[in-house]
């Protein structure tokens, strides 16, 4: 079963994208690693974050809010969560 949730309709399809696979890692490791990668990106760049810990569904949006990044979409399929995050301008 797959669920997709578009968080923000802002068009980001042309933005550069980086991938971070945190499958098998327990929270808060995925948010820790994601924050480091987001710190390296430029404003508007995208990060595709893949996790398997269900806690990420709460932690990743909270991290994005705290950092001032934009959570573009979340999808859940086959025990994996895929987050698309857009680097904000605050960091």
């Amino acid at each position: 079963m797959s669920t997709d949730k578009l968080i923000d309709r802002h068009d980001v399809s042309d933005n550069p994208m980086e991938d971070l696979d945190c499958s098998g890692l327990l929270c808060p490791l995925p948010v820790y690693k994601a924050a480091i990668v987001l710190g390296r990106l430029h404003h508007g760049d995208l990060l595709r974050l893949i996790t398997t810990d269900p806690g990420a569904l709460e932690d990743v949006p909270a991290m994005a809010r705290q950092r001032g990044d934009r959570l573009v979409s979340v999808s859940v399929a086959d025990g994996h969560q895929t987050f698309i995050l857009e680097k904000g301008s605050l960091q």
Binding site: L26, C27, P28, L29, Y32, Q66
Partner: protein, 330 residues
């Protein structure tokens, strides 16, 4: 002509302060950290107040005891075999673990809270540790002020649990045992059984529970006082249980009184101790000594208060409280 020296020539001899290995310097009943009387600070209270100078230990803090017991415990239970160590620490446990890990042929990875001063992070990296700086609020789904602990547990569980051995100072009774078997007996012997108050800061609570329990076993009328910072404090190594999870090793039955101390009071007394006693203590010592002034001790009472570490690792914090003080006023 060469002379063959007998085996054991010039080996460790504590009476001569000669050591084969830095680990021989770790404190115990026969090699206690010193206690030094405060004769100027709080002199109006006429107390027999002694600071136990844990920063005289080889790796610079009271955590030398904890780290040695944590590693010995892992080894004795067969949990260390070929693994690296992982621990959440505000710095001092990590420093002692990193040093002892190197000597044991392994390595430490440590998760440390955001506010830990740069000095400690550099010391850890110099000792070969891998340092993961961790915002307290890293894991909103878990406890909001224990991000470093949550991250250490996540790392320990990663890679099938095969890479790391978790020392878990907040949950591990070896931490309490270290102070029950060394700190407590040292204090009892150094005060010739006259100690009436024991005062220590809350952190993992290993010190206050372990040493406090030993002292109460020797004399149930001894009063054990815990010192707690205010929420949002800037006192490294200390924990406010209004914002942090109470450690699994905490035993409230050992504690008779808890005194909450503000940052302002702690740093003011710390500065006073540096300048009037010439003891270069860390901020938690200022908190502990301030608590002594409020706990209701009578003149002549013998008090032992823990000076967990020195101030040399916190010079960047002291710079903030000094402002322009000590610079030429031209």
């Amino acid at each position: 002509m060469t002379t063959t020296r007998p085996r054991g020539w010039l080996r460790t001899d504590r009476s001569l302060r000669r050591f084969d290995d830095v680990r021989d310097l770790l404190p115990d009943i026969d090699n206690p950290s010193p206690i030094v009387r405060l004769t100027r600070v709080l002199s109006d209270l006429d107390l027999g107040l002694f600071l136990k100078l844990e920063w005289m230990n080889p790796f610079g803090s009271l955590k030398d005891r904890t780290a040695a017991y944590l590693i010995d415990g892992l080894r004795d239970r067969g949990e260390l075999d070929g693994k690296e160590l992982i621990e959440a620490s505000s710095g001092n446990t990590a420093i002692a673990l990193a040093a002892l890990a190197s000597l044991a042929g392994t390595r430490l990875t440590t998760t440390i809270p955001d506010g830990v001063p740069e000095e400690k992070k550099i010391i850890l990296r110099m000792l070969g540790a891998e340092v993961w700086e961790t915002p307290d609020d890293l894991c909103p789904a878990d406890n909001p002020k224990d991000g470093a602990i949550a991250l250490a547990r996540a790392l320990a569980a990663s890679e099938g649990g095969l890479r790391f051995a978790a020392t878990e100072q907040y949950e591990n009774q070896d931490n309490v045992r270290a102070h029950y078997q060394t700190t407590g007996p040292e204090i009892w012997r150094q005060t010739e059984g006259e100690v009436r108050w024991f005062v220590a800061a809350y952190g993992t609570t290993g010190t206050i529970v372990g040493a406090g329990r030993f002292l109460k076993d020797m004399n149930p009328s001894i009063t054990v006082v815990g010192v707690e910072p205010e929420p949002g404090h800037r006192l490294p190594g200390m924990k406010s249980f209004k914002e942090a999870r109470v450690p699994g090793i905490h035993d409230p039955d050992v504690i008779d009184q808890t005194i909450v101390v503000s940052d302002e009071s702690a740093y003011r007394v710390t500065k006073d101790i540096w300048r009037r006693e010439a003891l270069m203590v860390g901020p938690s010592t200022g908190a502990v000594v301030h608590a002594v002034s409020e706990m209701g001790a009578a003149p002549g009472d013998v008090i032992v208060a823990m000076s967990a570490d020195s101030g040399v690792k916190y010079t960047s914090y002291f710079e903030d409280i000094l402002g322009e003080e000590g610079k030429p006023q031209i």
